[in-house]
Symmetry: C2
């Protein structure tokens, strides 16, 4: 087999496995780590030599699932919905998901233009209650807008309430946002957010572990939260009752060494009680986007510039180079102006600008974007910004 056939097999194998193994199933992750994708798929397909630690009944169930799986068809259906499949080790794989160990996703289905890996580098999760208050909606939207204005990517779960407000706040600020779903990315849940999620797929990213058409379950919601926690630098909980799912995201973030933050509210509100519990347990109290960025902001931003280039300008994709070239050298420009200069669409320009932001080439200034000092210097040297 050629290497590319090999990696095509690995990809198809992972597509099959994500039909068979539930999100976050650590036994599945262990099999893949110990035997490799090919061997696990072979055993499941042939139905012989069960994998270690699996009961007879469970083995039969897994084999039946594997036999029903049609990975090529899944890829085709996903492709029609504009989704690609991103796998560990691939160019778009966000390395920080490896912190999940054997609970690392088998792969991720991704809808949207930007590079998930790039966007995740400078992302913060904003999560909270579905049945939130007007206070919560207001705070989540303002916070997400403020993060977007500072060049940060807002990640949430696409749900009603705080999640939706966070996505909308980021979009309203012409910012970057990622929805991590607990179902197939072609089958938006909740239905009432179909328009919002398709807007996110147009202007940002919609991501999920589950194969096309799959539906959410309570445990899938909970396990989805670990992906949000692992993907981001930190998690901000805006409103949460005691024992809520967003507290689980925050605790997962803490276990993974990410920043855990909470926005306080009235002590008379049951929807702030969970956040206050979190804050009393040691999470950082934040009241606005500036305080979040102060906490999660890369210390490297403040450190003296490194000597060598990290990613030379010449190694950028042509589309990214074109956007970079469209930025004026001496002032900030709006997304529209930059898109016109490439030329490309506004959404494509946003996708690339946030990627270039992650690489340190550009920074957001309110409504506009400008080259970083390092990027301006690298025009002369042909090197990356660092």
């Amino acid at each position: 087999m050629t290497p590319s056939e090999d990696s095509a097999d690995e990809l198809l194998g992972r597509v099959l496995l994500c039909r068979v193994i539930e999100p976050g199933d650590e036994a599945g992750g262990r099999w893949v780590r110990e035997f490799g994708v090919g061997e696990v798929v072979r055993r499941l397909r042939e139905g012989v030599s069960a994998l270690p630690g699996v009961s007879e009944g469970r083995w039969a169930g897994l084999v039946a699932r594997a036999r029903r799986a049609r990975p090529e068809r899944d890829l085709a259906v996903a492709g029609e919905a504009g989704a690609r499949f991103v796998v560990p080790g691939g160019a778009e794989w966000p390395g920080q998901l490896d912190d999940l160990g054997d609970a690392r996703p088998i792969g991720l289905w991704v809808r949207g233009r930007p590079s998930l890996r790039m966007w995740a580098l400078r992302s913060v999760a904003v999560v909270g209650a579905r049945a939130c208050t007007e206070y919560g909606t207001h705070v989540a939207a303002t916070l997400a807008g403020g993060l977007a204005e500072r060049g940060w990517v807002v990640v949430s779960g696409g749900a009603y309430g705080i999640d939706g407000a966070a996505h909308r706040g980021a979009l309203a600020a012409r910012g970057a946002t990622v929805a991590v779903l607990a179902c197939g990315v072609d089958r938006p849940y909740p239905r009432g957010h179909a328009a919002l999620i398709s807007r996110i797929a147009d202007q940002g990213l919609v991501v999920g572990e589950l194969p096309p058409g799959d539906h959410p379950t309570p445990s899938r919601f909970i396990l989805r939260n670990r992906v949000i926690a692992a993907l981001t630098r930190g998690t901000v909980v805006v409103e949460a009752a005691c024992r809520s799912g967003s507290l689980a995201t925050a605790r997962a973030a803490e276990r993974l060494g990410r920043f855990t933050m909470g926005v306080p509210g009235p002590v008379t509100s049951a929807l702030s009680a969970g956040v206050h519990e979190l804050l009393r347990a040691g999470a950082a109290l934040v009241t606005d986007a500036a305080e979040v960025v102060e906490l999660v902001g890369d210390m490297g931003d403040l450190a003296p510039p490194r000597r060598g280039p990290v990613l030379p300008r010449d190694l950028l994709e042509p589309a990214s180079r074109a956007v970079l070239a469209a930025l004026p050298g001496n002032r900030a420009a709006t997304v529209e102006e930059i898109a016109l200069g490439v030329p490309t669409t506004r959404d494509e320009a946003i996708a690339k600008l946030y990627e270039l932001r992650a690489l340190g080439y550009v920074e957001r200034h309110g409504d506009g974007w400008k080259l970083t000092r390092q990027a301006m210097m690298s025009v002369r040297t042909g090197h990356g910004p660092c």
Copy 2:
């Protein structure tokens, strides 16, 4: 001179000094510490041999103040208003005020039946903004009521807003409350709180450093806060704008090694911004009275009982012994029932019950009071509760 003449001179000297030296003036505290009350008074009265570190102009001002002072008259006026003068080293002096060093009050004017020393042992300050919101009023009153129900004394500054709500909340729960004023205790400020402050003097304590008739000034408000901070186990700030006086109380509490706590509120409220700042700087987030008590509660309560008696029953004042004797041995009783059994007034019974609480003889159970286990055991041994 006999010892009693000596201490009468010391008392009169301190009455005079509290007309001459402003609250919190550390130079004044140092003179008293270095030369003694008698010598400082002699020099001020004679106007010769200025005290160290005083400019000529300031010295003339102090001498003029001392010559105008009429300490016997101050004592008489205070006595008519039901106030006594409590001095360092005296039986009612709260020893924890000595933590203020040279900024320790020269003495304290006290209106009300209970022993300031006893009540201060189990006290918590609840302070906050004058121009507070309805949320703040509600939270302060509920918190103070909950503290009172748990047998804690609520200390505040008698001001409009949070302070008033805290006092009222404690009174409404038939609890103990202390107002520390920045003016003469016979001259309640603000005027609109005359009725409230006289109710506090009837049912609790009204305390201040300033001599009868004296008025508050901005700096006196700020320096009053150090007394609130030093007197109590901890300070809870309920609502405060950035740079508010109650934050100064909290910071003073922290410097003195007391617990500093804050009740969060909406991040959209400017009146919670100061509290959030305090919480971000390390103060403990509290949402109800139980959480406050969990923090400030004497660890000794949980420790195994000590062997020897702390204050044997026989050494209690007769009035306290009478209240203790009126408590049934096997159940909780209301204040009214206890007062009837002494017999005494309801206010007197409350005053004594909180003193006995500080000594570990009794505890509050919701609306009622009962003997502690240790107190029941000491009925047999004749020893104190510990």
